[in-house]
Assembly symmetry: C2
Amino acid sequence: MPAKNAFYAQSGGVTAVINATACGVIETARKHRARIGKVYAGRNGIIGALREDLIDTSRESATAIRGLLTTPAGAFGSCRHKLKSLEENRAEYERLIEVFRAHNIGYFFYNGGGDSADTCLKVSQLSQATGYPLQAIHVPKTIDNDLPLTDNCPGFGSVAKYIAISTQEAALDVASMCETSTKVFILEVMGRHAGWIAAASGLAASEEGDAPHIILFPEIAFNREKFMARVKRTVKRHGYCVIVASEGTQYEDGRFLSESGLKDAFGHSQLGGLAPQLAQMIKSELGYKYHWAVADYLQRSARHIASGTDVEQAYALGEAAVEFALRGDNAVMPCIVRGKGKRYSWSIGEAALEDVANVEKKMPRNYITRDGFGITDAARDYLAPLIAGEAYPPYKNGLPQYVRLKNLPVPRKLKTRFKV
Amino acid sequence: MPAKNAFYAQSGGVTAVINATACGVIETARKHRARIGKVYAGRNGIIGALREDLIDTSRESATAIRGLLTTPAGAFGSCRHKLKSLEENRAEYERLIEVFRAHNIGYFFYNGGGDSADTCLKVSQLSQATGYPLQAIHVPKTIDNDLPLTDNCPGFGSVAKYIAISTQEAALDVASMCETSTKVFILEVMGRHAGWIAAASGLAASEEGDAPHIILFPEIAFNREKFMARVKRTVKRHGYCVIVASEGTQYEDGRFLSESGLKDAFGHSQLGGLAPQLAQMIKSELGYKYHWAVADYLQRSARHIASGTDVEQAYALGEAAVEFALRGDNAVMPCIVRGKGKRYSWSIGEAALEDVANVEKKMPRNYITRDGFGITDAARDYLAPLIAGEAYPPYKNGLPQYVRLKNLPVPRKLKTRFKV
């Protein structure tokens, strides 16, 4: 009987380093050809499996696969398709098993956040229930840094670095001009429920009075009066005020300051436009000249300034996922374990998926200053090593040389089509 | 008689490389101590001269001055104070001469865009009229790339590189997810009257179908129907559409789109920003899910990804300004002259200020495709070398080590105060 094949899929919002994880999975699998046949990737994530639309990664050269290490976004495509519960939609789970069986897939590597950890767990359970042998390994990925058990999540360190640097740079700009021009600058960053990304901007400050002067976290209810008083005081004291605001900043009652009214496939509200809203609030109440920026996808795709630590960890987690599979593990997730010493160190640990799925890790209260507008030394100690190191991509003619895969399809074996 | 001192000021919006020019000016002046005494910088630009608020750059170490080469924004502060005509406000010009005389300043280096070239010219004329010996040299700087006579302007190449890379990266993100999520991504960039920055995004495309699919230039009147048809066709053909829009995009009659006062579903005025407006237009007419980003100050302060060519040229222009002064020139501007060969080369030329002041260089029509939505090969040939080369700043703990100067004041000599 030929060695079992592996299936790999990218899930949810992509990051600057999710392809580094793919690189780790594929390169490691290629070292064990006797036990892992081919690595098939889902075209556009899990829906590629449901549609039997698989990509044959064995058709890519070693150089192309290595190129994934320095290429942002999802090289095989990703999606926001969340599988419902087994009870609600058993058909989808059964379809997955059917496709896996047809292509002799014995390893399922699912690279995503909390929702995909949950899907991965259910696939594992169903495979056991139906007697189809499958090892399901979840590989963590999320810029939101909100997965439990792992010290941090791949993708976060790079966004954190981008936001810290962008805050530092834009603040120098504002400081240069504030005497006669812009007094308030607002940078809106991602983070619906957890303020990790906004928190990272705090690393830009190294001395008293440095920007950012105000950070808005989803974890801290927005209080307009306190906020305005702080803006005013900061401009009086330093001549300018730099604000970094999580898109998920909300009032005491849970209403987001900015809701576009749209919802995504998971039923989450689509946010955006908080920065202009805050700017207008400040203008009408305090009269200051303002500028604002919304980084949006720029922040999570900024491979050009990815964190060296993040790239290394993303790769190592992909590598570990395959090693876990080879030693027979199932329904687990490799995770980052921080060393105890004062000097930062990390190693790979293992978490059971039932402990991971659907748990959201928010910022601990002691990472946020008492006034709710800044980060504490505990937060700095946690965050600083995650943005350390530069891992520049190769350049040609002034532009990064990001790899383009061929993404050739695996011939279909099933007659049935499945609507997704 | 002691050697004459020099006065240097930064003017208008700052850039990622204006400090590299300051570095060129100061380092070159320091090599000629017999002829140039000290370099005084205006605190917050020209208003520092008017207020007799001068910074003594001789108090900075060689290391600190070298650090300017890799530090964005204006290390001495800048301002948007435009001197009116000599007839309208002779007092300001006379005050400048008074301050220069008090501090034995014989060289005036003014680092800015079109307005400051005009000021520089007038200061030169007044010094001649009043018999005060002063050499006034303008040093070009503007991200808008709209100065005449110079092939390009320092500051532009770095914004261009940042925008090209950001477009390339965000496009990979959108392409990864478009099957089930965002179909349209809009990046709003600077450029009120000239579309050079938006044009640079076109460098991100290397193959047919690559993003950006639509570029909006201030030079091309916005036609909603044509635009919508192109968005729709692009999404149908490629699955997604990336749009890069100049903030100065305008209708046939000259009205800016960002002033058009759209309202959201609740009847609230849409808050600022061209990108969200275009997004809403597309959503309501075509129904596509969208994301948008506004880079704002992030683009012009992004020293972390500055263009190597730009940094070199910015330094060389500062150096040349001092050399021009030493050879006795007045009312001139060093500029970039492009070599004639196929392989990119450049040298420093000299332009008379009366030919520079108040002329705005827009995109030539043959740099924009016939349909008005893209750039031509002529534009690519012009733009590509300007973003070439990476000139990374030094890093420590994951963050760029940008220099902070002491910026110690020169003791005042005048009794009169001047209100600015």
